[in-house]
């Protein structure tokens, strides 16, 4: 395509031409009234289309999109979701350690469980606060209820259950020792 049609095709995408192509097109335009007419037609159409009434999206579009996105996003996820589940195997490992090493180890189990719950709760709460752009610590302070809510009540129940079992075994072990 090197004839007239070639330049017509160039005209329709004049903004995309290289310098060489642009110069070649301009040289052709200088001697071709038909192509100059076509160029003017494209320019007129472009101006008309761009000046066309600017239909605005509904006012509520932005709010609706953001509200739908907000409702679909997880409060927290990834590792944070897995951490509460890590409490159970960690607790079992500590129980195993306690069974092997006696009363002192049982004390460390109880402390370990408390530390596990506190660290997990703090971590998950931090992720949740960041995801929701909330202050890390509420003005009222970060209470146990906040931590429990962040970790999940199921996990808290399991941890309390394991803690109670550990306490009973620890008590029995200490009584047996005496």
């Amino acid at each position: 395509m090197t004839g007239h049609a070639y330049y017509e095709a160039m005209l329709v995408c004049a903004d995309e031409l290289s310098l060489t192509e642009r110069l070649r097109l301009e040289a052709h335009l200088a001697g071709c009234a038909a192509c100059r007419g076509l160029e003017a037609l494209y320019a007129e159409n472009r101006a008309r289309l761009r000046a066309m009434a600017q239909v605005r999206p509904p006012e509520e579009l932005r709010a609706a999109v953001l509200a739908a996105a907000e409702s679909s996003r997880p409060a927290f996820g990834g590792i944070a979701l897995m951490l509460p589940f890590a409490i159970v195997p960690l607790s079992l490992a500590l129980v195993g350690l306690g069974l092997s090493y006696g009363p002192i180890a049982w004390l460390s189990i109880a402390l370990g469980l408390v530390a596990c719950i506190a660290v997990t709760g703090w971590y998950v709460e931090r992720r949740r606060a960041r995801a929701q752009e909330l202050p890390l610590v509420p003005e009222s302070g970060l209470g146990l209820a906040d931590l429990a809510r962040a970790v999940g009540w199921d996990t808290v129940g399991i941890a309390i259950g394991i803690g109670l079992i550990a306490l009973i075994v620890l008590t029995m072990s200490m009584l047996g020792g005496h």
Partner: protein, 178 residues
């Protein structure tokens, strides 16, 4: 941190689901930047501002899902998703034989444009959807022929030919309407 391209700008992206707050911020920027042009494009395709609003919302929510997973979203991606969503809507209408009100009446109701812009709207609505689409993408939104080719799944040469024909048809119809 990965970066997403929004038009020619590169924006920071969240890398995991827990950073959904960042994705929400990005989404707000996308809606601000592309909301109007995308909505207008969907009105051109669907000739129905209500359906265009719904499709725009779906498109932005898909974008949010992508952003939340740390994927890149740019204008071509948005327009391609919007176009696919519009095609689904047109297929649904075809099945239900639902024919929306003419585009010019809805747009006139929205913004009461001048007689000249109404003539442009009417002329545009007399063209085929393919012609309207390629004219709108190239001349109003300023996409290049390779970009449009990617969106429409055709060759850039075919886009240029379609654009040339659309210009000539638009001019002929506009001459009658004006």
């Amino acid at each position: 941190m990965k970066r997403a391209s929004v038009g020619l700008q590169a924006l920071p992206l969240p890398t995991d689901a827990a950073a959904a707050g960042e994705a929400c911020t990005e989404l707000g920027q996308l809606v601000d930047h592309y909301g109007q042009s995308l909505f207008r494009y969907l009105v051109v395709l669907l000739r129905d501002s209500d359906a265009a609003g719904d499709c725009a919302q779906d498109t932005f929510l898909r974008a949010y899902e992508y952003l939340r997973r740390g994927k890149s979203v740019n204008s071509q991606w948005l327009y391609t998703v919007a176009r696919n969503r519009a095609i689904d809507e047109l297929r649904r209408r075809k099945r239900e034989q639902a024919d929306p009100a003419p585009i010019e009446r809805q747009i006139a109701g929205d913004l009461a444009p001048s007689a000249r812009t109404q003539a442009v709207e009417r002329a545009l609505s007399r063209l085929t959807r393919e012609d309207q689409e390629v004219l709108y993408l190239a001349e109003v939104d300023g996409f290049t022929s390779p970009q449009i080719a990617d969106m429409l799944g055709i060759r850039a040469g075919a886009v240029r030919m379609r654009l040339m024909r659309a210009h000539l048809r638009f001019r002929a119809v506009y001459g009658v309407e004006a």
